[in-house]
Amino acid sequence: MDGRAVYSIAKKEFLDNWRNKWIIAMAAIFLVLTLVISYAGASLGGGSGWQDVGGTIAGMMTIVTFLIPIIGLMLGYSAIVGEKESGSLQLLLSYPVHRYEILLGKFFGLSSVLAFASLIGFGVSGVVIGLNVSGMQWGQYGVFIGASFLIGFAYIALSLCFSAVLQKRSTALGVSVLLWFLFAVIWDTILLVALVATENIDLSPGAEFVAPTWYHVAALANPSTAYQTLVAVNIGPVSANIAGDLPSFYSTPVTLIVLLAWTIVPLLAAYIVFRKKDI
């Protein structure tokens, strides 16, 4: 593998997308939302120690869960199929570069865009929190940022895979939107329906929620849930905000594996299909 080719393609992908109006808009929205939450939570909310920042981090996590996957999908869905439709992919493929180098370069370049775009929001919010909170644990905040990057990279890998495999840009966009809808909106509902249909579960308010293992495994398979669990089990004060007793396998290693799997498997699938595709 030629590291220089991967780097050149990553650099071009960064420059190209950094000037994309939609990405700039999304980064701005992310900045504003996280700033509002961090200000409201850290300076206006009661308490001033790190232990009390849990609610603020939980709020920021909600924004990330909603917005970062959208940014990731928007970055990736047209990365290959868009170039194919415009004609620049035909030119790129005539160069002495392997198809997997193109995929990797694009993945790294797009991930850098997402990392930089979200770092602006995280950075400014971090300053606000730091100014208003004593005993600020930057390591914990760093873990939160790192986890947020991982969920973003997973969604970039997924949309990049669709982009490499599908024939039309509109199809890739549609599938990406459906995927977001599946994970962000209806995943838990589907599981609950399956639960009620197959087990005898008491869902009335006040009753203790006890679900079989398969339910918890299926719930954790959702990358967004894995992300939230990863943050929850690591950032002390936040975990109180996740309801119910978490199963023991809801841990850092397992959630990391889930997130990495959702990144590596789509990229592998993209490679297998893209390497033999007629362009």
Partner: protein, 301 residues
């Protein structure tokens, strides 16, 4: 073995062959033209040559490197100008050339020099999204030349250019070829192809109909040059004298012009015969068999 070697290329889409057992050897240093009507398989052949698609059957090698197993090394020797070339709207001309220079391990400064050469020197810091069609085409040519590849594959290189632009491209092709670059060109504009090519290949419905020099193909089809000699006082006697010359196949009197269909070698003897018969030559033009005639003959349905 030529610098580009295509053996038995077959490409089928859903059972229908777009290219059917095509073999070509392009010699190093020549200008080789691929011709054919729309849908003949030209683009498919070029895409197969560059590894953009996987052949159904056949083997292609470039500079001795097999395209399937050693694709990267094979493509390192080729500069490609696709038919509807497109770039990245958000990058400037300069950034675009730098990107492609890096991919070919060429010097970034060469990118800027090439932009100057194709007339984009003043526009290199503008975003490519703002370039006109002609500017994009010129950027396309600049990009193909970066790294000085020994082979250039040009698909409709003068499309989108005004006459001056087309002329400049043809001059560039000639100059590059003089410096040793092998040029593989596909074009609809037969007059341009005729002016620059050494050999042509004609595709029709996916089959290779002909592959040779224009002279050889004309001979095969019995197409001969026509001399149109304008004389002051033509006579049947003069026509008869000309008819006697070895290599003359037809003589026709049209007004005060004697039209002679003959071989190239016979030309000087005809002038002598005419003058010996007392002919006073006012004007003399030769119509060589055109590539268009050859093309039409080989692509009849």
């Amino acid at each position: 073995m030529g610098i580009i070697d295509i053996k038995g290329l077959v490409k089928r889409y859903n059972g229908t062959p777009a290219v059917n057992e095509v073999s070509m050897e392009i010699e190093q240093g020549e200008v080789f033209a691929l011709l054919g009507p729309n849908g003949a398989g030209k683009t498919t052949t070029i895409k197969a040559m560059l590894g953009l698609l996987t052949p159904t059957a056949g083997a292609i090698s470039i500079g001795g490197y097999d395209l399937e197993g050693q694709g990267k090394m094979a493509r390192r020797q080729v500069g490609y100008l696709p038919e509807k070339v497109a770039f990245y709207d958000n990058l400037t001309g300069r950034q675009t050339m730098a990107f492609y220079a890096e991919l070919r391990d060429a010097d970034v400064s060469q990118g800027e020099a090439l932009l100057d050469m194709v007339g984009l020197g003043g526009d290199m810091d503008k975003k490519v999204g703002a370039y006109s069609k002609g500017m994009v085409q010129r950027l396309g040519l600049a990009q193909a030349m970066i790294g000085d590849p020994p082979i250039l594959v040009l698909d409709e290189p003068t499309s989108g250019l005004d006459p001056r632009g087309s002329w400049q491209i043809r001059q560039k092709i000639k100059k590059l070829n003089e410096q040793g670059t092998t040029i593989f060109i596909s074009s609809h504009i037969l007059s341009e192809v005729q002016a620059v090519s050494h050999r042509v290949a004609i595709l029709h419905h996916g089959d290779l109909m002909a592959l040779d020099t224009l002279d050889n193909l004309s001979e095969r089809l019995d197409l001969q040059p026509v001399l149109k000699i304008q004389v002051r006082e033509p006579s049947g006697e003069m026509a008869e004298q000309v008819r006697q010359v070895d290599g003359v196949s037809n003589v026709r009197l049209a007004g005060n012009t004697i039209e002679v269909r003959c071989t190239t070698e016979a030309k000087p003897h005809i002038v002598n015969a005419l003058e010996a018969a007392g002919g006073d030559i006012v004007d003399f033009t030769t119509e060589e068999p055109s590539l268009e005639e050859v093309f039409l003959r080989f692509t009849e349905d």
